[in-house]
C-alpha cells in the first residue's frame, strides 16, 4: 500500500529565554494509506507538537519528512499552505470553526483556498455531500454558535474532508465534548476509516486509542512503543 507520511529522525527543540525544551527527540514513523493510527502518551510528551509538524503547521528542528514521497522538510510558508490545503485535513480539539461564517461556508473554505478553481455548483455539490456524510445536511445555514459541541466537531470533520485530503490529522477530537457526543464523533471517524480515509489521531483516552489499529505511544518526545507497521515490518 502507498506510504502517505514518512518521518525520519524528527526532532523539535523549543528555545525560550530560560531553557531549551526537547519536545521531540528522534521520531521515525510512517503512515500508509487506509491506516488508522493513534498517538497517545502522558501530557507534555510531545503529541501535539508531533501532529503539527506532520500537518506542516510547524517545522522540525532536524530530521526529514516526506508526504507521498515528496520531501516537505523545508518548504516555504506558501508552499506548505498549498500542501496543507490539498493533502491534509485537520480536526482540532476546539473545533476552530469561524464564527461569522455559516456551516456551509465553513465547510466550503478549503475549496476557496484551493489552487484549482471550483465552480459554485461544484462547491455546493461537494460541501453538501460532506455534510451529508457527517449527518448535518439540515443545518447548512446555521452559524457555528447555534450548534452543539458535537455538531460543531462534525462540521469540522466535514470541512477537513471536503478537499479530499490524503490524511486526516486529529488532535483530541473529544476533549471538549461529553461522552455521548464524543462517542458519536469517534464512530464517525471509524466509519470514515472503513470507507478508506487515512487517519492519525492524538488522544488521551485509552478507550478511543484502542479503536485505532495502530497504536503509537510517546514518552518524553520518544516513541515508547510502536507496533510493527507495514513499513517497518
Amino acid at each position: 500500500m502507498n506510504e502517505i507520511l514518512k518521518l525520519e529522525q524528527i526532532t523539535k527543540v523549543f528555545e525560550t529565554e530560560e531553557l531549551e525544551t526537547h519536545a521531540l527527540s528522534g521520531i521515525s514513523l510512517s503512515i500508509h494509506q487506509g491506516e488508522y493510527v493513534s498517538i497517545s502518551g502522558p501530557s507534555g510528551c510531545g503529541k501535539s507538537t508531533l501532529l503539527s509538524i506532520m500537518g506542516l503547521l510547524d517545522f522540525a528542528t532536524s530530521g526529514k519528512y516526506f508526504i507521498e514521497g515528496h520531501d516537505v522538510t523545508s518548504l516555504t510558508l506558501n508552499q506548505a499552505a498549498k500542501v496543507r490545503n490539498e493533502k491534509i485535513g485537520f480536526i482540532f480539539q476546539s473545533f476552530n470553526l469561524i464564527d461569522e461564517l455559516s456551516v456551509f461556508d465553513n465547510v466550503a473554505l478549503p475549496l476557496r483556498y484551493h489552487s484549482q478553481k471550483f465552480s459554485n455548483q461544484e462547491i455546493e455539490q461537494r460541501v453538501l455531500a460532506r455534510l451529508e456524510q457527517v449527518g448535518l445536511s439540515h443545518r447548512i445555514s446555521h452559524k457555528p454558535n447555534q450548534l452543539s459541541g458535537g455538531q460543531q466537531q462534525r462540521v469540522a470533520i466535514a470541512r477537513a474532508l471536503v478537499a479530499n485530503p490524503s490524511i486526516l490529522l486529529v488532535d483530541e477530537p473529544t476533549g471538549n465534548l461529553d461522552s455521548k457526543a464524543g462517542d458519536q464523533v469517534m464512530d464517525l471517524l471509524e466509519e470514515l476509516n472503513k470507507q478508506g480515509t487515512t487517519i492519525c489521531m492524538v488522544t488521551h483516552d485509552p478507550r478511543y486509542a484502542d479503536m485505532a489499529r495502530i497504536k503509537v505511544q510517546l514518552l518524553d518526545g520518544k516513541v515508547l512503543h510502536a507496533p510493527l507497521t507495514k513499513a517497518t515490518a
Partner: protein, 811 residues
Amino acid sequence: MALTSQGYQLKQAWQAIKRHPMFSVNVIATIAITLGALLCATTLIYLMLVKPLPYPDMDNLYVAKQSMMDQEGGFVGEGFSYPAAKHLYKQHDKNVEVALSYLTTDVITSLSEPVTIDSGYITPEWFILLGAEFTLGHNFTVQQNMDNFSPGAIISHQLWQEQFSGEQNILSKSIDIRGVSHPIVGVLAASFVEPEVKNLGRKTQLWLTWDYNWTEQMAWGDLSSIDGAVNVLIKTDDKANIKRLENQLNRQQSDLWQQEFANHVNFQHWQISVALVELSNEIYQGQTELIYYVFFACLGIFLIAMTNITNLFMSRTVEQQRNLAIHAAIGANKFKVFSLLFSEYGLLLFISLPFVLAIAYLGFYLLQQYLGSVLPRANELTLSWFSFGFSFCVLLTLNTLFTYICRQLVPYHQLRNTLSQSGKGSGIQIKASIRTSLIATQITIAATLIFINLAMFNQAYRTIKQPIGISVDNLWQLRLAETNPTQTAPEALRNDLININNALNQHPEIAKSTISLSPLIWFGNYPLLDVEHNKQYTPQVKLVDDGYFPMLSQSFIAGDNFTEQQILDSEWVMIINEKLASLLAPAGNALDKKVRFWGRDYRIIGIVQGLHLPNDREMPPRAYVPDKRKRANIMLKTKTDNPMKKADLLQVVRSVSSNYTIRAVAPMIDDKNRLLFIQYTTLAVTGGLTILTLFLAIIGLYGILSYSSQLRRYEIGTRLAIGAKSGDILSMIFKDSVNALLIGLVGSVLASSLLFLMFSEQLNQLINTHTIVWVAATATTVTGITLLGCYLPIRKYLSNPVIKCLRAIEE
C-alpha cells in the same frame, strides 16, 4: 483598611503598567504630545479671550484712534497725527487721564559699540496708567512733562542686565541718543509687560521723555498725516459716559482741524473721527484666525489620539477579562470592578501629566521664539495654575470616560462564566461595528485635517512663490542715524549723505548704492489731486532718487526715470505705477499729466510696472517723487552673495562724516521674509500638524487593526491551517477595512463641507483649481495609511509557522 486596599490597587496598577511597557509608553506619549499641544492652543485662546491684562483698572483703559478719510471718502489712515495727539494731551478734561507714547527704534551711541534698540518716548502718565513697577529708581517726574525738554531715561530690566550687567550704580549713568544725553532715572521691574499697541512681540528697551522724539526734533509733525509712532492711552473713571467722551474728543479735534485748514477747501471736506477702543480689544489684533485654526487642529488631533487610546484601553480590558473574572469570582462587586479599572487607567494618565506640562512648556518656548510677533501676549505664555488645572481636569474627565466605556464592555453578570468556559471566542469581544466606527471616526478627522492643512499649506506656499515684481537679490538696506541732528545744519547733513553715498559707490564690494528706502519697508499715504477732473486719490507714495528703479529692476511702461539733476533740484516731477495711471487716464495716456501734490503742481514723467507686495490683496495706486535727501536711507547692491559687514560700512560712513552712525543694515530679503512671515508660519504650522496627524492616524489605525487582528488570530490561524496563503489573508483583512475607509472618506467630505460652510469667509479662498489635487492627495494618503495599518499587524502571523497563530492567546 480602605487605605491599604487602595494602596494595593495602586500597586496592582503599577505592576500592570510595568507588565505592558509598550502599551504604557504609547498611551503616555500620545497623551503628552496631543494634550500638550492642545494646552498650548488653549492657553493662547485663554490669554486672548479670558485672562485680564496685567494692568490696574484694566476695564477703564482705552486707546484713542483717529481715522482719516479724504473728501472722496478714500481711507487715508488710522492712528493719530502728531499735532492732534499733543493737542488732545494738553486740552483734556480733569475727569480723564491721558498718556502719550512715541514708539520707534534708536541707536544708543554712548556704549562701546552703537546698539540699535526699540525705544519709546513717553509722558510720565504712561507708566502710571499701566501701573509699572521699578526695580531701581522711579518714573519720570512732573518736571519732565511735555514741553519742559528735560531729558531722562528709563531702561528695561533686560537692557539693564544685557548692556549694563545689572550694575547697582546704574542711576548715576546716562544714555546718549541723537546727541542728547539722558540720565537714567529708573529700571523697570522684570515683571513689567508692555501693552502691544504698536506691534505684537515688541519689547521696548529704552523709555525717554516725550520731547526728544524724532517728530518733535525734526519738526515733521503734520496734522493731515497719521504718525505711526504715536499712541494715545486714556483712562476714565466714567465708563458709562464713554460715548460722551468720544463726542467731546471729536468736537475738539474738528475745531483744531478747521482752525488749521481754514483756507484749504479740499481739507475741509476730510472726515476725521476719533474712536475709543478698549485696550484689551486693541491689543488682540494678532493672528486670531491662525490661533483659532491651530486650536481646532490641535483639538482634532487630540480627538484622533483619544480615539486611539479608547481603543487601546478597550483592548486592555478585553485582555483582562480573566483577571476581572477572578476578582468577580472572589466577590468584587460592580463598583470594585469599576475602581479597579479606574485606578489602573488613572495611574497611567496621572503619570502622563508631567509630560503634558513639559510638552506645553516646550510649545510655549517655541511660540515665543518664533511667533512672538504674530501672537498677542506671547510673552505671558508660561506654565501656570491654569495649565495645571486644565490638564488635570481633562485627564480626570478622560479617566472617567475611559473607565466608563470599558466598564460597559465588561458584562459583569457573565464574568463568572468566563472562568468556566474553555472554548475560544466565547469571552467578551469588541463588536465589529464599534471597531468600524472607531476607524471611520479616525479617518474622518484625519482626512479633514490633512485636507485643510494641505490646502492652507499650498496657499501659503503660492503666496511665498508669487513674484513681487522686483528682484531683491544681493540688495541691502542701510539706515543711518544723525548723531547730532539739532546741532548740525541741514545743508551739511545733506552734503554728508550725498558724499557717503558716493563713497559707498566706490567700495569694492558694492556694485551700486542709492539714497532710497526699500519698498518693502515703507510707503506713505498722501492725497493727490487730478487737476483736470478735480478728482482726488490717496496713493501710496515714496520718495526715491534716480538709482531706485534701476536697482530694483522695476521696468518702465512709458516715459523715463528721474535724472540726477531732477533729484538734485528736487524738481516737481512724478513717476506713477500702472494702477494709478489707469485711474488718472482710464482710456488714454497719463504721461505729462499735471497733478496737485503737497501743494504743488507735479508733472508725470514716467509709468512703471506695479509691484505686488506680499500683503497686497490687489495692486494699490502708487506714486514716486524725488527725494530731498533729508532721510538717511541708502539701498545697496553688492557684487557677490557675501554679506555686508556692519563694521566695514561704518568705516566708510565715518571716513566721510562723523555726523552719522548706522541705525540698521539688513538684506532686503529679510524684509521680504518679514512680510511673508505669516505665510512661513502657516507653512511650518500646517506642515507640522500634517505630520503629527499622519503619525497619530498611522499609530491609531495600526492600534485598532492590530488589536482586531489579534482577536482574529485564531480565525487567521484556522484559515492558514486549512490552506490559505498569505495573499488570501491580506486581501481578506483589506476588504474588511474598506468599509470603514469609505465611511471615513465620505465623513471627511461631509465634515470639510460643513467647515467650509461655517467658515466660508476664511476658508473659501482655499478652494481653487488645485483643490482636486489636494482631495486626491488626501484620499491616497489616508488609503495608504489604512493599507499599512492592515498589513503591519498581521505580518507576524504570515511570516511564522502557523502553529504560533493557533496557540492559546494567554501565554
